[in-house]
Symmetry: C2
Subunit: 442 residues, 2 copies
């Protein structure tokens, strides 16, 4: 009854630890989802660095100081955000003050940042005639070209350089990175290999990662398998950190481990295959989208959809993958009943007799999609997404889906929990897996 919980076993050795500070009131209040904290945590862990905490903090100097200070027991602190050209972008200044390092103007950076700003202005069609705007831009360039004394800068990807501020007096070094993921991510390798950072993280040991994806089993079954493994081969998984996550019916098992533990991970992989068999749809970390896309492309087959309650989301998901035009023909959003009849060929009599949410209609939608679009495979979807429209016989969450192909029809009934969004989202995932299973069988 709690959230999906991992079975996390830290590697036995002492590994260096980093803490992450994410700045931004918009993140703290949830208006913008934080893309940087989890990404950096993953990078650090893959690099053999333990991540103790991610601290999210608003755009106030005192809070930022307290957040960096709260990670003083770590070997390294990484901050993201607050490096822009305006006065309320205050991370560099706060870290400089905190470490007692006055800001110095770096002429090389004035030039570098200035060029980027000019290029951006030109692209936006600004000709430089407005003196006030020119002055504002110049001020921004100069602000971003300031670096705390004794710190190094990391080459900017956008206009903001990153910083590596050395530690001292028992405080850890601080890596200061910009907020936009498109600027932060390309800068990260430079940060990680900087000598100050390398020294702070001495003793780290790069970790491998293996992901196995399974469709269907409840998380409790996986927990049971891990317990059984531990009983039969005590300690076999000790050198592996296993994290599990259940999402829309897909169970993801991630192992992180040092090279020496490859055998243990192989043992786990065999145990998963032995217990869950064909439900292990991806022993190598590929997503169901990739598995489907590759199989359809190999076989030169195509797919079309006819969707009622998902109203285009299955087709939209099939087109998420670049190159999907090789196999996605198209589809019909058959929301109104007369659209089901006129545009997909579902007999009005069937809808009348058994209702729009029925196996018969799902089958007719799948067949109609296949035939009308000349596709190898047709997917049909009809269901009660809610919140209204449910009855005792056909409650909210009842969805009928079907895949039709050269070998006939493969209908499936889904009984889904959650609200309207969850029902529709889970239906999309269930459709992809039904098609995957039918393809695997054929």
């Amino acid at each position: 009854m709690t959230t999906p919980r991992p079975d996390a076993r830290p590697p036995a050795d002492r590994t260096p630890r980093a803490g992450i500070v994410v700045t931004g009131t918009e993140v703290l209040t949830g208006r913008v989802a934080d893309a940087n904290g989890p990404w950096l945590a993953e990078q650090l862990r893959a690099a053999g660095v333990d991540v103790g905490r991610v601290v999210v903090v608003g755009d106030r100097p005192d809070d930022l100081v307290a957040a960096v200070d709260s990670l003083a027991d770590h070997d390294l602190v990484v901050t993201t955000g607050g490096l822009g050209p305006t006065a309320d972008d205050l991370t560099a200044q706060v870290v400089a003050d905190l470490r007692g390092r006055p800001m110095r103007l770096v002429p090389e950076l004035v030039e570098l940042v200035g060029e980027v700003v000019d290029r951006l202005a030109a692209r936006r069609g600004w000709n430089g005639g407005d003196a006030a705007r020119r002055a504002e831009m110049d001020a921004g360039v100069r602000k971003q070209a300031h670096v705390p004394e004794g710190a190094s800068w990391l080459a900017p990807v956008g206009t903001a350089p990153g910083l590596v501020v050395p530690g001292g007096d028992g405080t850890p070094p601080v890596v200061v990175l910009p907020g936009p993921p498109g600027e932060l991510r390309p800068m990260w390798p430079d940060a990680l290999r900087h000598p100050v950072v390398a020294e702070a993280l001495a003793g780290r040991q790069e970790l491998r990662q293996a992901t196995v994806r399974i469709w269907g089993p409840p998380e409790a079954e996986l927990a049971g398998l891990l317990r059984d493994l531990d009983r039969d081969q005590p300690g076999v998984l000790d050198p592996v950190e296993v994290t599990t996550c259940l999402r829309d019916g897909e169970l993801e098992v991630v192992s992180r481990y040092a090279a020496g533990a490859q055998d243990a991970v192989d043992t786990l992989g065999r145990a998963l295959l032995g217990r869950f068999g064909d439900a292990v749809y991806s022993p190598d970390g590929r997503t169901v989208d990739d598995v489907l896309g590759e199989r359809l492309t190999e076989r030169g087959e195509s797919v079309a959809t006819a969707e009622s309650c998902t109203a285009g989301l299955v087709a939209g998901r099939l087109a998420d993958r670049p190159g999907s035009s090789a196999y996605l023909r198209g589809g019909v959003v058959a929301y109104a009943n007369d659209v089901k009849t006129e545009h997909v060929g579902v007999p009005a009599e069937v809808i009348e007799r058994v209702g729009a949410v029925s196996e018969e209609v799902a089958v007719a939608l799948a067949r109609g999609a296949r035939e009308r679009f000349g596709a190898t495979w047709g997917i049909g979807v009809t269901g009660v997404a809610g919140p209204g429209g449910g009855t005792a016989d056909k409650p909210v969450g009842l969805v009928h889906v079907c895949v039709s192909g050269p070998d006939g029809d493969h209908p499936r009934r889904l009984d889904l929990g959650g609200g309207r969004d969850a029902v529709r989202r889970r239906t999309v995932v269930a459709c992809l897996h039904l098609l995957r299973e039918v393809l695997a069988a054929g």
Copy 2:
């Protein structure tokens, strides 16, 4: 060049401060997005409580201790997650140890939690015959029925009760809440009105919130308007905390303020309307989905789609809203060119002559959708979502959309940045706004 930044002005008075601890390795590593931290931050802020930091921490006792300790300078700490029935659900025990309060079994809770567990087991069709399973379940119930000495419990929504653990010796009280949002959210009002919490947050003043949504203007223009307001009426916005956020072209302006500042917020609202006019599509916080849905329903009008690069996502979005069957007829996912011709009536000759990504094809798609589905309004979409398929003439990010209706065609060209996902997502939002504008004009 940094992330969208708010212009955040804290209210002048000293307000009580709370810190939030989110537990879970799956959240720390980004496998699961944290839904609780931002939600609690919003609730606390609306209740007049300042949120200093959100700390995300994995499932290790030491890290959890350090996280709670790191918030010792706050008036209240709220934790989420780690209250399940198994041994690795350790939040209650860690907080009990930290505050020196031994765990006591609460017989009333054994009964309460036991009933919930039995009900869940029955719903899953388990008849209770397996003794080992029965013992495991009983152990889970007893674990969840333990409460630190001197602490209060909050009635469980799932199987896990919440806890209110008093502070003392200069440490703040801790509210311990379960991880699943469906259990945490209904429990929150009880937590907030608990006497220990009320005392810790004494002096808080409930805040009002007003949201204005604007389509189109860059964030810099809004920053300019706020500066101008401050120049013309110095200090007028001081009692208001204004947060702005730009997302897929939609600019959201949120004001949070005490009742006495209503005039200032009204002034801001008038200034926004004065500067941005009809681009202010929602002066009252409604989403574009709501604005569109309500307008179409009022007018008794309907809509149909024909989508290429978005492949159903526009129709899927139109169906997000409960009650959308009142106006969404259906649509065609016209991914392949021959589908555009056969199923929407786009002349093959036009595709041949000007290419599939062109204003002509967007118009033909919109007209075809409207006519074939008998809808008042048709929406057509065709574009280069990337990463492949771009040319010098038609680069990745070029999208043509069109709304056709009784008054003719309204084509629009979009030049979008970002990757495949961003291009498709922004196209969906742009289509909703184009239809909204056409409806507003008609």
